[in-house]
């Protein structure tokens, strides 16, 4: 089983096409800012754990303090971002990617 070899110029043509540029834009416009956002949110949590210990220790519900709540919120945000990405990919990326793939496969048959 080998990789299908395609004429290289096909890829350059597809790369220049407006549809591929749109797919690339939709992918990057979602994932890049989101990556920055969750990394900043995570680092904020680590920095607060290092430098704002009194704040993290404020008790909110019984023995449950802000540090613990922020930590649990990291779990919640991770689950939500993962689900949101999956929905985004299914709705906005997959149809376009499938269409382009079929086109390239047709052209290079």
């Amino acid at each position: 089983m080998t990789t299908q070899e395609h004429d290289a110029s096909v890829y350059e043509r597809v790369q220049q096409s407006s549809e591929f540029q749109e797919l690339k834009r939709r992918f990057r416009a979602w994932t890049f800012p989101m990556t920055v956002a969750f990394l900043v949110w995570y680092l904020l949590y680590v920095v607060l754990s290092g430098w704002a210990r009194d704040f993290m220790g404020i008790q909110v519900l019984g023995n449950i303090n802000i540090g613990l709540i922020l930590g649990l919120l990291q779990f919640v945000s991770t689950f939500l971002i993962a689900l949101a990405y999956s929905r985004h990919a299914e709705k906005k990326l997959d149809p376009l990617a499938d269409k382009l793939r079929h086109e390239v496969e047709e052209q290079t048959k």
């Binding site: 299908q4 290289a8 597809v14 993962a82």
Partner: protein, 533 residues
């Protein structure tokens, strides 16, 4: 029957079942795609479970529960980095790698660059990262048997390492990726089941009131409210500013390392399409996240209910002891014995599965990258390649046994953090640049991998981890230069910097190949298909 006898019986049952799976898998492993990628025929859910199995090492199961039991909040902090890291893998790496690679991490890098230097660098880094990780697990296995089975003689510990190593070699040599993946799936189910059972019992004891559990843990810890606040383990006030910088450094390595770990990256090749790769990471995140939430209860439960012996400085016995205590609390002494045995067996299964995954990753990279493409310049047949992969699994396994015995009793826990740091500093920059940066080239890839790897090693050699502290690897010597235990905060930016520098210093650049990898990675054109049997 004592719990160690029962534990041994349960563990042997696991071994018998997984060996059965391995021999079944070996009969279905014919091609290179079968051996390296399990025929790419696993479903998203199966691979998601296997991702959990590969990732939830004994270090995270016993280690994080133990860290929470001893240091409260700071243990929890550790597990969060391990989880958030999966978003990097999901958003930026998993699908694109599945679409553009074949068997190893180097496939993606070698796609548009001069293959030999890039494969050499990626192969070296894969083997170094996997062996660091492997060594930590092997030494951990020896220490665990002492704690769980009450064996203290060095000889018995050495035999445990030999037995674990021999089993892992059998799984990998005969079962390849197919056998190893099923071992991971079985282990993940057992681990989740065991952890969930104990969690429910602990919560039941406190009437499902988390605050009451935390209160009991705080009181028993003797450390007061500080037990639930940051700073008992990482960046303690006594360590001053450097300690806090070290905390950030560790956090960075944890969150950026996962998506550069070779044994995790090759998991994305075991499914038929990029959509399945996405689905498997989603399942992986669900499983791993749930598991870390369970360890939170296990850790605080252990803090509240058991007394960890002073000799167990890492708290590795916290979870097994908790199992015994909570079992006894609900079901009498028989219950305690059974639960302790169960958790002991699960812990061994965990070690075994993780070392198998690591051995597979390093032997695959040796055979596919170094042997087939560097030494043989791509002239090796698929058959030869698989034979070499099997032989190198045997050699790497034997080396891991030898090193594991030599390192017995050493404090090698830092090797896991080091493996994450190397993965984040060398591998991740090279992967991200090659997927997203048009101008990236051979010099850049080689510079980022070696630059990240070497800067990590230098930073660690001259850190208190190796010399000049009470827990140092080399006792009685002091050549440490800085007080930074985790190299990430310096080595990760350096890895990205070297990748950029190498790129701009070289004129090489292949526009046509970049067009190809960009189109292929986003659309899945020409992606490797699943094999049929």
């Amino acid at each position: 029957m004592s719990s160690s006898t029962l534990s041994t019986i349960l563990f042997l049952t696991f071994v018998a079942a997984t060996l059965g799976i391995t021999f079944w898998a070996s009969r279905n492993t014919k091609t290179a795609a079968d051996y390296y990628a399990g025929g790419r025929s696993f479903t998203g859910v199966q691979n998601g479970l296997a991702i959990g199995g590969d990732y939830m090492s004994a270090a995270s199961f016993l280690g994080i529960a133990g860290m929470i039991a001893l240091s409260g909040y700071d243990g929890f902090l550790y597990s969060i980095g391990f989880l958030v890291a999966w978003l990097v893998a999901l958003l930026l790496v998993a699908e694109l790698m599945r679409n553009s690679g074949k068997f190893t991490m180097a496939d993606v890098l070698a796609f548009r660059m001069s293959p030999r230097p890039v494969r050499t660098a990626a192969g070296v880094s894969t083997i170094v990262v996997s062996i660091f990780y492997l060594l930590a697990q092997m030494v951990g296995a020896g220490a665990l048997v002492g704690l769980l089975l009450g064996i203290t003689s060095a000889e018995a510990k050495n035999w445990t390492i030999v037995a674990v190593g021999a089993l892992m070699i059998v799984y990998v040599v005969f079962g390849g990726m197919k056998g190893t993946t099923w071992v991971q799936i079985v282990k993940a189910v057992l681990l989740m089941g065991g952890a969930a059972l104990i969690t429910v019992l602990v919560l039941a004891k406190y009437n499902f009131n988390l605050s009451a559990l935390l209160g009991a843990a705080t009181e028993a810890s003797g450390k007061g409210a500080a037990f639930l606040e940051p700073g008992l383990k990482y960046g303690t006030e006594a360590q001053g500013l450097m300690g806090k910088i070290d905390l950030i450094s560790l956090g960075l390595a944890l969150v950026l390392g996962t998506a550069g770990l070779p044994h995790i990256l090759i998991r994305f090749y075991t499914v038929p399409t990029a959509k399945d790769a996405r689905k498997s990471v989603l399942w992986g995140i669900g499983i791993i996240g749930t598991f870390y939430l369970l360890t939170l209860v296990l850790g605080f439960g252990a803090a509240a209910l058991v007394k960890i012996p002073a000799t167990d400085t890492a708290g590795n016995t916290a979870a097994p002891q908790l199992a015994a205590a909570i079992g006894e609390n609900f079901f009498g002494s028989v219950g305690g014995t059974v639960l302790l045995a169960l958790i002991g067996a699960v812990a061994f299964a965990t070690i075994l599965a993780v070392v198998a995954g690591l051995t597979l990753a390093s032997s695959s990279s040796f055979a596919h990258d170094l042997y087939a493409h560097v030494f043989k310049k791509g002239t090796a047949t698929e058959r030869e390649e698989v034979v070499v992969a099997r032989v190198s699994a045997l050699v790497i396994g034997a080396a891991a046994i030898g090193l594991g015995i030599l390192a017995q009793g050493q404090n090698v826990a830092f090797l896991v953090a080091l493996a994450f740091a190397v993965a984040a500093s060398g591998n991740l920059p090279a992967i991200l640049y090659s997927l997203f940066w048009k101008r990236f080239n051979t010099a850049g890839a080689v510079a980022s991998i070696y630059g990240g790897l070497i800067s990590c090693l230098i930073l660690v050699v001259f850190s208190p981890v190796v010399s000049g502290s009470k827990t140092a690897l080399i006792k009685g010597a002091d050549f440490h230069i800085w007080n930074l235990s985790n190299p990430g905060i310096i080595s990760i930016p350096l890895g990205f910097f070297f990748g950029w520098l190498g790129t701009v210093l070289s004129k090489e650049y292949n526009a046509a190949k970049y067009a190809e990898i960009e189109v292929r990675s986003l659309t899945g054109v020409g992606a490797e298909k699943a094999t049929e049997h």
